[in-house]
Structure formats: C-alpha cells, structure tokens
C-alpha cells in the first residue's frame, strides 16, 4: 500500500538477509536468499509448499544456522544459535498450530515461561498490568482471566500474538496465520496486524492465499525452488501474476466444467446423531478446536444428506464442527446414537470399518501421516494398508510382495509420485508426494464412494492440479465424492453441491455456482443458520 514510507532510507531495515544458503544432506533447501524487510511494514512471503519458506523462517528464528550468508537485524549483524537468541533480538514467531495449554487461563498462558516473580512467587498483578498495556497499545481485545479451552480459533491466535509481544518482540513472524480462520476472523486479524504496524512493529507473514497477501501487505517476496525470485508491491501485481511468479508457469483452477451428477444415490446419511467421542481417538487430527462435544452438545446433530454417483458434495466448516466425526461415522470409527447410513442402498450402519471399506469406501484422511501412512514402511507396503485382503496384493493368507510391487509401481507412475523406487520408506517423501501416494492407493481400489478430507492440503500447485484432475476424472466415471476442505476456492470450484457444518449440524445447503467465500464464511462462523435450500 504505502511503498513510500517516510522511514525508508533513514531507519535501517528491520530484517536483512543476504546470500543465505542452507543445505541438508543431498538437498539445498535455500540458496542465495535475499530479503529486505523495511521496519514498520507488513511483509508477505509467498511460495508453494516445499519452496523453502519454512527453512527460511527457521533460519530467521534461530532454529538452525545458515551455511552461508548474513542476517542483519535493525542494522546489526547477528548470529542466532537458538530461538532464544532470536527472541532476545526481538523476533517472535506465531506458529500455524497454536501451542496453548487448555487448562490454563489466557493470562497464565501468556506469561508461561516468562513469569514475572515477586519474592519467589508469580506476580500476576504485574503481569496483568503489562498485558493490559500491550492490549491498549496494540488494540488487541481479549479477556485474560478466562480459561483458554473456551476460546475460539481467532482468540487463540490473539493470545499467541500477545504472548510473543509480551516477550518484547518487535518483529513478528506469522506462519500461515489465516489457514485456520474464517473470513471474518481474517478481517479482524488484519486489523490487529495493521495496528501493530502503526505502533512500529514489523510483521513478516507467510501465506499462500494470494488475495489476502495483496490486501494486507506492503511488500511481497516470492520464493520459488529454494530461492527468492522477486520482491513486489501489491500495486504492481494481481493475484494471477503473483501465483505465476510462485509457480513459474500458468496456474491451474479447481473448476469442474459440466455436471456429471446422476440420479443414483451412492451414500445416504439420515438423521445421524453422535454424542460421545470415539474412544480410540485422543486428540486425533482434525479434532482440534476443542469445542465439539463440550457442554453436552452432540458431536453430530441430526445430520442428513445424500451423495449421488458422479457428484461431489463439499462440506465447509471451521475445523472442529463435526466434520471429522461425520467422516468417522460413515467409516464406522465413530459410534452413532441415532440415524442410519446407507451405501448404494445397503444399510451399513452396523458394519465394521473393514466391511464398509470393502463395500467401496475410499478414504483420504484428515492427517495423512497420522491416519494414512506407515512412515517407516516402504511405499509398496503403504499401498497395501487397508487393502491387505485385496486380491491384487495377496495370495491366500500371504502378502504377495511381487504383485503388490507391480501394482505400486503402476500407481506411482499414474499419480506422479516422485520417488526413486517403491522400496523407499514413506517418511522420505515430501508431504505432497505422501498425499499423492494416499490418493493413488485409494483410487487404485476403485471405490464407489471417496471421502476426501483436505485432499490437497499442504500439497504444491502441481500436485494439487493432478489430484483435482483425478477427482474430476473419477467423478465423470461415476464416483461419488464427499469432499471436506478448508480451502474455500477448492470447495466452491469442485463441488456440485455444498453443505456447511456448524456445531455438529448441517446448517446450510448452498449452490456452489452462486456461493461466495464471504457468504460461506458467514455460515461457517454460525452467523447465519438458515436451512437455505438451493437445489
């Protein structure tokens, strides 16, 4: 916005990185990275997953030392041996995943690890005065005496920001701060961030939602393949151009063209209600947010919908509003107290997980590493996971390694999993390739219903396009897809029909052709709760 800040020229840059190289065995994660962040500005760093953003931020936050290059903070060249050094230099980082203790109050969380003491006891009064000052100065609204477990995602983020400011940070690194927020919360976050900058704080934020980046930042630095390729101002570029800078080529879009929806109902969920969390899940992926099920509210509240062959039904919602429970109820991992689930007309409500999957349910899980992979096992064994009774992988009671490897090789080739061989353990693959492997495994089984939870989360643009293509092709071939995604563009672009979940219930049915991200956000935040039927 203001690319002619008066300080420019007089004040040294808040952060200056020159010629940063960071190598890991066999890999150059960052090479020749140059970054100048003007003091008191919002500086966005954008790039695909795997472009080297995290490595760069870890360098700046003292998580590791660069092999070459210099870091200059406010005109002074520094060497960070640990994050403690970085904090001492006034750098604070707000991670994408919040690290707050639920059973402590906001105040306690903020001072945790940096408690002011008075005669050997924690001086909460002093801490509170200090926090009140910070709240006033930076215009951050939060009630500090409440328990953290009652906070929503946006509030938790404000606590994290306060926590960092409390430690004296003047340079704030926000790692994908909007990933978990609904649009209204994003607006609030940006107001907070602007206020911080007005008060002289420098904000570096990592993001890949380009519209947001263009809206809020003063400068934008693009990282591609481990190096900084351009620094631009929002006036100079639009989202498309920025995306092309990130990818280095033309952008794919999630749009589906013609409808392939048939009349045949593949999945029918009717009146499904669940009150108790699945016993075997302890803080499982996707169940974060902590609000679901508390206060006696059902985890799933009379959920009914249908997915037809050739149809993609998208589910929008802030994480923790029942999406995970719904998926697990369909898979048989979550016990339900009322309602029924039919697959292709057959009642599967009381079948085991294995039998349901046999009946044709494929699943791309919420958290690929936790629920979808055996990290230390080779890829070909990972292909078998969940299908160790499929004829293509076994011979009688034995695993048929030869057959399984042949199938794995074919799937690896078809889905473009980048790996030297099928014998590589899964941990060695990048996140995007792990995801492609899971998609490959599930699609190889020829499911009749695919439950895809965040199918392209953390996946680079190339892999994203490949996964979208596969989903579209399978849809055209009659696959029914239940799509859960936090990426509203993906949801709107791919879905034939869109449901919004809020507090365990389906609160809206929207037509993706007319729905906008803002409108969707209002439903997701629970501000509108009408059963708007657009069929």
């Amino acid at each position: 916005m203001s690319d002619t800040t008066p300080e420019h020229g007089t004040t040294p840059p808040a952060v200056e990185l020159r010629g940063i190289w960071k190598r890991f065995p066999g890999v150059i994660a960052n090479h020749d990275v140059n970054l100048t962040v003007r003091a008191g500005t919002i500086h966005a760093i954008v790039g695909e997953n795997g472009a080297g953003k995290s490595t760069l931020m870890n360098t700046l936050y003292g998580m590791h030392r660069p092999d070459e290059g210099t870091i200059t903070i406010a005109g002074r060249q520094v060497t960070f041996r640990s994050p403690t050094d970085a904090i001492a230099a006034g750098i604070g980082m707000v991670h994408q995943h919040f690290m707050l203790a639920d059973n402590l109050t906001v105040l306690e969380n903020i001072v945790l690890g940096a408690e002011p003491t008075h005669g050997g006891r924690i001086d909460f009064a002093a801490a509170k005065r200090r926090i009140d000052e910070l709240k006033d100065t930076y215009g951050i609204e939060i009630e500090v005496d409440q328990l953290t477990e009652h906070l929503g995602v946006g509030e938790r983020q404000r606590v994290e920001i306060l926590k960092v400011l409390y430690r004296g940070a003047r340079i704030l690194i926000l790692d994908e701060p909007t990933a978990v927020l609904v649009p209204q919360e994003v607006t609030e976050l940006f107001e907070n961030v602007r206020r911080l900058v007005d008060e002289g704080v420098t904000v570096i934020f990592i993001d890949h939602k380009l519209d947001e980046v263009l809206e809020v930042s003063d400068d934008i630095t693009v990282i591609r393949s481990g190096t900084t390729v351009a620094t631009v101002t929002p006036d100079e570029v639009d989202a498309r151009r920025l995306g092309e800078l990130m990818v280095g080529s033309e952008l794919p879009t999630p749009e589906t063209t013609t409808s392939t929806v048939t009349d045949v109902v593949e999945l029918s969920v009717s009146g499904v209600t669940a009150r108790h969390a699945a016993a075997a899940r302890h803080g499982a992926a996707g169940g974060t947010g902590g609000t679901a099920g508390s206060g006696g509210r059902p985890l799933l509240d009379d959920v009914s919908f249908e997915v037809r062959r050739g149809e993609i039904v998208g589910i929008a919602g802030v994480e923790g509003n029942g999406q995970l429970e719904l998926v697990e109820a369909i898979l048989g991992l979550q016990r339900i107290d009322a309602g029924s689930i039919h697959l292709a007309g057959d009642d599967i409500t009381s079948l085991s997980v294995r039998k349901r999957r046999h009946a044709g349910i494929g699943y791309i899980p919420f958290d690929r590493q936790r629920e979808g992979l055996l990290l230390t096992s080779p890829l070909w064994e990972n292909m078998i996971l969940g299908y160790d009774d499929a004829e293509r992988y076994v011979r009688g009671p034995w695993i048929a390694a030869g057959k399984a490897k042949t199938v794995a090789d074919a799937a690896i080739a078809r889905f473009g999993v980048k790996t030297p061989s099928n014998a590589v353990p899964a941990f060695a693959l990048s996140g995007g390739n792990q995801q492609k492997l899971i998609v490959a495994r599930e699609m190889t089984a020829n499911p009749s219903l695919l439950i895809a939870a965040h199918p392209t989360r953390g996946v680079d643009v190339g892999a994203q396009a490949a996964i979208w293509d596969e989903l579209r092709a399978a849809r055209a071939a009659g696959l029914a897809v239940l799509l859960i995604s936090a990426d509203l563009d993906e949801l709107i672009g791919l879905s034939d029909s869109l449901l919004v979940m809020f507090r365990g219930a389906v609160t809206a049915r929207l037509d993706p052709a007319t729905a906008t991200p803002t409108q969707l956000g209002m439903y997701m935040a629970g501000e509108v709760q009408s059963q708007e039927e657009v069929a």
């Binding site: 994660a29 795997g50 080297g52 997980v353 629920e371 055996l374 009671p397 695993i399 980048k418 030297p420």
Partner: protein, 368 residues
C-alpha cells in the same frame, strides 16, 4: 524400524558397521571396568578367545542358545506390536510347569507325547499372558507394569504348586520336583559327548524362528500386526482393530514364552525341579534387542549370549569374578541399542535427503 530394503552398498556397510561398533564400545567399557577393579583385560579376552575354539564350550553355548532364542522370539513378537512383554520370565515358568504336570499325567506314544507337552507349554504360557492382555485391552493397564507384577506372582505360584499339589519327589530326595515325565516325552540330544551336548529342541527352535518370520514378515496377519504396531491410528482407519491385535500379539508372545522352559524339561531334567534355570525371560529381552527383532539377528544374539554364559565360568579359574561377563552382556546390549538408534537416525536422514534429491526436488522442510 526401517527395515533394510534399499539395496544400497553403503546401507549394507552401515548395517554391518553398527554391531561392530557396538561390540567395540562394549569391549572398551568392559576393559575400563576390569582395569578399575584391578584385573587385566587381556586375560579376559584371552580366556574368552580360547573358549571360542573349544568344542565343549561351543556345544554348551549352542545348547544354552536354544531357550534364549525362544525367549528372544517371544519378546520380539511383542516388540513388533509395540508391546513390551517383560513377563516372559513368568510365562515360561507357567508353561514349563503346565507341560511338566500334564505331560506326566498322560500316556502317549513317543513323538505324540512330545507334541502334547509342546502344546501344553504353548497353552500354559498363552494363558498366563492372557491376564496382562485382558488388563491392557479392557482397562488400559500398561503391560510393562502388569507383566512385571505377574512375574512375581507366577514365580511364587509355580513354586507353591510344584512343592505342594504337584510334588512328585520322595520325602528324602535332594531336590524337590514334579513327577518325572515318561520316557516317551523325552527329547534326545542332537550331539553329545557325555557331559556336553546340544539337545534336539534346537530343531523346534529353528521351526519357531521360521514360523515367526513367516507369520510376522510375510503373512497378512503379520502385516496387520506390524501396521498396528507402527501406527495404530492408521491401522484403525484402514479397518484393523489395533486393540484386537494387541490381544493376539500378547497371546502369541506368551505362547512362544511357554516353550522357553521345555528344552530343559524335555531334554534334560524331565521334571520341573528346584534346579530349573531362572532369568531366561529377562535374557530374552536382551537377546531380542541384540537381534533387532529379526529371526536371524535373534539367533546370533542368542548364540553370543549363550557363549558368554558358557565361557564366563572359566574366568573364575583366572581369579576374575565371572560377574564381569554379566556386566559385559549388559554393556553390549546398551551399546547395541544406542548404536542402532544412532545409525537409524543417520539412515533416516540420509534416505530422506537422497529421496528428495533423486526426486529432483528442493522441498525438505525442516519443520515438517
């Protein structure tokens, strides 16, 4: 954890280097201990070295390796499922007593009687392992705690039973024991020169090793077991109930443990006596760790362990306490575990980097 599947010469070298380094470290630490206690490490090395070329000691080592191998397999089955069955000690005693009592109570023709005793041992061990299995599955009680406690109970219970209800020895007899097994249940020696021998139970041990390999590494059941052990969440999502697998693994482990006392019962003492070996269950943990849960590795571990047991006795002749061998064994296990862990981390890092490089990508995200 990461099984060696990438045929990379450097990886093979690393796999061989790790145990060698471990042995070197163990030797070094033991040498320091010996010097500190006023003994000459060279004498110990010499004594142990000389025994390596001696048939009698080697036969003793091999014979000793038989129960150690079975015990190692019993522990390893649990390890594969992330279960720490510390209760092999108790389970093998219950198994041995079951076989001793039931075996002496029936009359059967030759090989059949042996098979009957084997089954009795398997079932006895499995039944005793059912207790911690149920506690874990139904009540979430950590199997380490329950199996340790059950060891105490088993040891006392078995002692009470064979000196009481099942006592078969006469009043004036030197050793208290159960009734002798009829000769049809005895297992002959494979090799023998009078005082030193290797019992034919070695064949059973080999068969158990093969069965372990096929079951855990090659079968669908084994795949589900390993999947549940490696990632219970993924297993659950894929339709395998990790709880059931925990139960089954515990029972298989207990069954294998039930065989541990049988070489001594069927091949040597022919009754459960107060001279029965103790500590084989705990040694099995060490052997399983030494062998990295692999059937061949466990065999090597059992032979090394057996050799140290057999050769250690001769240290007394040099005026060196044979306990030094026990210390050496402990140090070897620690050194092996640590060395493998370090080697594993190096390997993981290298594989990750190489895979990324080969995939021509620059996407190593440290945070991830």
């Amino acid at each position: 954890m990461a099984n060696i599947r990438v045929p990379d010469p450097r990886r093979v070298a690393a796999a061989i280097a790790a145990p060698l380094i471990a042995v070197a470290i163990a030797g070094g630490v033991s040498a320091v201990l010996l010097v500190l206690t006023g003994h000459d490490p060279a004498v110990v090395l010499n004594t142990l070295g000389n025994r390596l070329g001696e048939t009698n000691t080697l036969m003793d080592a091999a014979n000793r390796a038989i129960p150690l191998y079975l015990s190692g397999i019993a522990v390893a089955v649990g390890f594969k499922m992330n279960l720490f069955n510390i209760g092999v000690e108790g389970q093998y005693k219950v198994g041995a007593l079951t076989a001793a009592v039931l075996g002496a109570a029936v009359t059967l023709p030759g090989p059949l009687h042996v098979v009957f005793c084997l089954l009795a041992g398997l079932i006895g061990g499995a039944l005793w392992a059912t207790v911690p299995a149920v506690l874990k599955v139904k009540r979430g009680i950590n199997e380490v705690v329950s199996t340790i406690m059950l060891n105490f109970i088993a040891i006392s219970l078995v002692a009470w039973l064979y000196t009481g209800v099942f006592k078969g020895s006469a009043a004036g007899e030197l050793n208290t024991r159960t009734k002798y097994l009829p000769e049809s249940a005895w297992m002959p020696d494979l090799v023998s020169n009078g005082s030193h021998r290797v019992n034919s139970f070695a064949i059973v041990a080999v068969l158990v090793g093969v069965a372990y390999y096929l079951l855990v590494w090659k079968s669908r059941f084994g795949f589900q077991l390993r999947a549940s052990g490696a990632n219970p969440f993924a297993a659950r999502t894929s339709g395998v109930d990790p709880t059931k697998m925990v139960f089954r693994a515990m029972l298989i482990s207990g069954a294998a443990a039930g065989l541990v006392g049988l070489p001594e019962l069927l091949g040597d003492k022919h009754a459960y006596t107060d001279t029965f070996s103790v500590g084989l269950g705990f040694d099995g943990i060490a052997v399983a760790l030494l062998g990295r849960k692999h059937p061949i590795g466990i065999a090597i571990g059992a032979l090394v362990w057996g050799f140290l047991d057999a050769a250690g006795r001769f240290l007394d002749l040099d005026g060196i306490p044979r306990e030094i061998v026990t210390i050496l064994q402990g140090v070897i296990v620690l050194a092996v575990v640590i060395t493998y862990q370090v080697a594993e981390q190096f390997a993981q890092r290298r594989i990750t980097a190489e895979t990324a490089a080969k995939a021509e990508r620059l996407d190593l995200e440290v945070a991830g």
